[in-house]
């Protein structure tokens, strides 16, 4: 699954650690999601969408 997490994070000048703190996950989790090595669960995807105030489908795309 592709995602725009890195771009969205960069637009807000957040580091991976900043984003991880906001999502209450580890920085490794953010890194793994950004690089497409780990697909988040639906609850975590919703949390990400809420944080960026965007619909899930505009952040995550089926590869």
């Amino acid at each position: 699954m592709n995602n725009r997490l890195r771009v969205l994070r960069a637009e807000r000048n957040w580091s991976q650690a900043n984003l991880a703190e906001r999502l209450e996950v580890s920085r490794q989790s953010v890194n793994a999601i950004e690089t497409g090595k780990y697909d988040p669960s639906l609850p975590l995807a919703f949390r990400i969408a809420r944080l960026f105030e965007l619909p899930i489908e505009s952040i995550f795309r089926d590869a």
């Binding site: 580091s15 991976q16 209450e24 580890s26 490794q28 989790s29 890194n31 690089t35 090595k37 669960s41």
Partner: protein, 140 residues
């Protein structure tokens, strides 16, 4: 790559697991010494023989507890993969060795070694599993 701080659940798990392992080693040494030097006999022999299994069962319960308490789903997933690889390799090796023991003359290895072997393989697999999630592009 800088290591991120461990999650609270992982810290708790590692502390409890470390204590349990300490009890495990102490129980092995105490049971072995008592059984070899004092030959208690009867029910006491049975109790001393199974004493080290108490911390073993506890560490298995701790794994389940960690998986329930870990709120970081990615860390939970990595831990599960490490356990699965450890279990898979241990089951495969013990099965092959068991069959060889039945049909050939290779030396007998006590089942007791299954648990340390499992942790050994979990330990060997963990860095390889973690490495596949590392990225050179990671920022801090």
């Amino acid at each position: 790559m800088k290591c991120s701080p461990k999650t609270q659940a992982m810290k708790r798990y590692q502390t409890r697991n470390g204590i349990a392992m300490g009890f495990y080693v102490a129980a092995i040494l105490a049971s072995t010494y008592a059984l070899r030097h004092h030959h208690p006999g009867g029910i006491l022999t049975v109790l001393l023989a199974v004493l080290p299994s108490v911390p073993i069962v506890y560490t298995i319960l701790l794994m389940g507890l960690y998986l329930r308490q870990e709120r970081d789903e990615f860390q939970r997933s990595v831990f599960q993969q490490c356990l699965l690889w450890g279990m898979g390799i241990t089951l495969a090796l013990t099965s092959v060795w068991g069959l060889l023991e039945m049909f050939t003359s290779i030396p007998h290895v006590p089942i007791f070694f299954t648990f340390p072997a499992f942790w050994f393989f979990v330990g060997v697999c963990t860095p390889f599993i973690r490495r596949q999630y590392r990225s050179s592009e990671a920022d801090e």
